[in-house]
């Protein structure tokens, strides 16, 4: 049979979880990571990253809106997906995702963004015209009270929401890792470290994503990049990447030392089918190279331009490395037979419901959403703030 070596059980020959299921944890991870970056300023008072606070929140929202799409497209009966909400199954981790997602979307992200932008929304609802005015008016929920006291209440409530948001972000992405880590029949996935590794890699990708967006948008807007901010973000990214890499290596060393009955099969796979995506892309190019670059920026006094280039390169490589990690987990876990006697091949389709074109579209769609959100709720300081209107 084409693409099959050795013996595969009949239900293992075709991969059921396609590239869209690779994108799902990747996009969700970007959400969690971006939110954690935003929380650095709000909860941990890291003032240096303040210029990225709002952009991080909007990025998290843009990616969160797209996060369930790969899953819905993967379903045989997409129209049945709302049944997950209507008939909740409390003992199925996968079925409870809808509630975890809805909690994070509405109770954390939308609420926090609304609180943070309320003053601007009220002012814009008074200064804008046409359809935009109507949109801003709806967003005010009919309240134009932006008195100092009400804004102070917003600040306090926003802080509490962010505080709740941190464990929620861990829950959202830890849950994604849990889905894989709890599948005891698959030795490639079954590991209690999986949720932890997912969270830390999510933080790396989210922070790298927001850093690149911040640098890219400022370049497009011809605005100066706040180097203190980018230096601080890169420092956090470096520290978190070290933890992430250490955890991944711990998992690897544990598997090698334990060398259980699945080891030969997994070892063969890493040296053949996953060699490029795991050894070359994930470990060498996507992890060690950005770590070395970030290490250099921490220990060597480099000129600003050099630091910028190194941050951009390490950010891009980190995003590629984390995507490769998701690929190796999702696709890698389906390439070998659970009889440990054979291997199959994943051939990505091009223009099908779960093909490459759809995957590229879903990767770019959050950027379109972000563009709309940035137009609607500009994340940078106002050039000339309109005078506050009277409170109601």
């Amino acid at each position: 049979m084409n693409g099959v070596e050795g013996y595969m059980y009949p239900n293992e020959i075709t991969l059921y979880w396609s590239v869209l299921i690779v994108l799902y944890p990747y996009i969700t991870g970007l959400v969690a990571g971006a939110f954690i970056l935003a929380s650095l300023e709000r909860v941990f008072r890291v003032e240096a990253v303040k210029p990225t606070y709002r952009l991080a929140l909007l990025t998290a929202l843009a990616f969160l809106l797209v996060a369930p799409l790969p899953l819905v497209l993967h379903l045989g009966h997409p129209f049945r997906s709302p049944e997950m909400y209507f008939t909740p199954h409390s003992t199925s981790a996968m079925a409870m995702f809808g509630y975890v997602y809805m909690w994070y979307l509405m109770a954390v992200l939308v609420f926090e963004i609304w609180l943070d932008y309320r003053r601007e929304i009220v002012l814009l609802s008074q200064s804008s015209t046409g359809l935009l005015r109507l949109i801003y008016k709806v967003m005010t929920l009919g309240s134009t009270n932006i008195s100092p006291r009400s804004l102070a209440i917003d600040e306090r409530v926003g802080w509490i929401v962010t505080l709740i948001g941190i464990p929620s972000a861990f829950l959202l992405h830890g849950y994604v890792g849990f889905i894989f880590g709890s599948i005891k029949a698959n030795p490639w996935w079954s590991s209690p470290l999986m949720p932890v590794v997912f969270i830390f890699s999510a933080m790396v990708s989210g922070i790298a994503g927001v850093m690149l967006l911040y640098m890219g948008i400022n370049k497009l807007r011809k605005q100066a990049i706040d180097m203190r901010c980018v230096d601080t973000i890169a420092m956090y990214m470096f520290y978190i990447y070290i933890i992430d890499f250490s955890l991944e290596m711990l998992d690897l060393v544990h598997r090698i030392y334990e060398a259980n009955e699945s080891f030969n099969s997994l070892n063969f796979m890493v040296h053949t089918k996953l060699y490029f995506s795991q050894i070359v892309l994930q470990i060498c190019l996507g992890t060690i190279t950005p770590l070395v670059l970030l290490f250099l920026t921490q220990v060597v006094k480099l000129p600003e331009i050099a630091r910028k280039y190194m941050y951009v390169i390490s950010g891009c490589l980190a995003l590629i490395g984390v995507l490769a990690m998701r690929w190796n987990v999702v696709i890698g876990g389906q390439l070998f037979s659970k009889s440990f006697l054979g291997y199959t091949t994943y051939k990505m389709a091009l223009a099908t419901k779960e093909g490459l074109i759809v995957a590229i579209f879903l990767t770019l769609l959050p950027l379109l959403f972000l563009w709309v959100l940035v137009k609607l709720l500009p994340p940078w300081p106002e050039k000339s703030a309109p005078a506050p209107a009277a409170a109601d």
Binding site: G6, Y7, F79, T87, T140, L141, G142, S143, R149, L341
Partner: protein, 189 residues
């Protein structure tokens, strides 16, 4: 109570949540089938609907009522416990009922995206109408290979061959009589 006045917008946001939850409950009331959860996490009425599906397999007793000679031969060989329809296919399938009610709008919409299964072949009604409907003879070169192609997952004592090396395309029944496959039991010749 200026605290409540200055926090009024928060109550509005909370009100939005309450409203969304109420809408959710109303929609849920209408879309969740009444029998859902009757026996478990599924629609209870589905049990009756599935049980009402017409039978597709006649069962080996029905076959043996006419084909006693084959049943006798089969009982002496290794295939004694293989049911007739495992190789010959389901032989009690019925044609779709022309008086079936027209599917509802949702089912027609879904059928546009997911094509329904083709109707059963009339050749499979042999058990219902044995004199006029004769099933096709299975191609043994394909049929036997389904079970007897060598695989590491099969028990060692199970007869397994690499069909291309073993017969080089010659149909299995040339040497093995399918109802009693041992060579010494005689092939079809």
């Amino acid at each position: 109570m200026s605290v409540f006045k200055d926090a009024g917008h928060l109550f509005r946001f909370a009100g939005l949540f309450v409203l969304a939850f109420l809408v959710f409950l109303v929609v849920r009331h209408y879309v969740v089938p009444k029998s859902f959860g009757e026996y478990g996490h599924y629609r209870g009425a589905a049990m009756g609907e599935i049980a009402a599906h017409p039978a597709k397999f006649a069962g080996h007793d029905t076959c043996e009522a006419c084909h006693s000679d084959v049943a006798d031969k089969k009982s002496k060989g290794k295939h004694a416990h293989v049911n007739c329809e495992a190789c010959h296919g389901a032989l009690f399938q019925r044609l779709p009922n022309p008086e079936q009610p027209r599917p509802n709008l949702y089912k027609r919409f879904v059928a546009l995206i997911i094509p329904p299964a083709p109707p059963d072949s009339p050749l499979l009604r042999h058990a219902e109408d044995p004199s006029s409907v004769k099933p096709e003879m299975p191609d043994t070169a394909v049929l036997c290979a389904r079970c007897h192609t060598a695989s590491a997952a099969k028990p060692k004592g199970f007869p397994q061959v690499a069909p291309a090396d073993h017969s080089n395309g010659v149909p299995c029944e040339t040497c093995h009589q399918p109802h009693n496959p041992a060579i010494d039991a005689g092939g079809a010749k």
